[in-house]
Symmetry: C2
Subunit: 132 residues, 2 copies
């Protein structure tokens, strides 16, 4: 598969794929002339990267997960990442609720609404633990 095909299937620009290869996040299996050739599972790998990015992971973090293909070494890493993500889910849930409340609350200024402030306080209590 050439880079254009990979780009189409992964819905990522070719430049991004080249960049990912440059920083060692993915590999091509060789060259056909001057062109890179990718294995067909590159699509899944790119999907994993995109998912990770969408979940707020850095490319470095994703790299850690992809490096040890066997994943014996970094089971703990995976689990701790999962926990971090769960913490972020809680964060987001609070934000979502705050926004929905703000949209429905008749208060003139939300920073005077006790419910809104309570949500905020709840939120602020949490993020010292899981701050990036």
């Amino acid at each position: 598969m050439d880079i254009g095909e990979a780009a189409k299937r992964s819905n990522l620009p070719a430049s991004t794929i080249r960049y990912y290869e440059e920083i060692g996040l993915i590999k091509s299996i060789g060259r056909c002339g001057i062109k890179r050739v990718f294995a067909s599972d590159i699509v899944q790998r790119l999907a994993f990267i995109s998912l990770g990015r969408a979940a707020g992971l850095s490319l470095d973090e994703i790299k850690q997960m992809l490096l040890h293909g066997n994943m014996q070494v970094n089971r703990d890493l995976l689990l701790s990442k999962a926990d971090e993500i769960e913490a972020q889910i809680n964060q987001l849930t609070l934000m979502r609720d705050s926004l929905r409340h703000a949209a429905n609350c008749p208060a003139a200024d939300h920073f005077e609404c006790p419910k809104f402030l309570k949500l905020l306080k709840l939120a602020t209590g949490r993020w010292n633990k899981s701050r990036r």
Copy 2:
């Protein structure tokens, strides 16, 4: 309240608070000599900003929400942001599940494990809608 106090209470560096004021995200209520003076509710506002950031919103998006203190105008904005955040929660949930699965699955290479791939596929289906 001076900027040092605000920094302490919000757990943000003074430089960040100055920056937020510079871009119009917050306001000081005046000066005492050359020093900024903030109202005491600045702490809540900064908490809201931090929460928004932790939830992945840009400063611009947060600004939109803070601009219209009354929030009559942008009830829809709030709700649509809430929906976006909910979409991201679903994203993150998938990522969390993928990671937990990967940590527990005995497969040598996770890109050959059908469950893992299924999670990936589920994830990839979603993110075209809510991509940043």
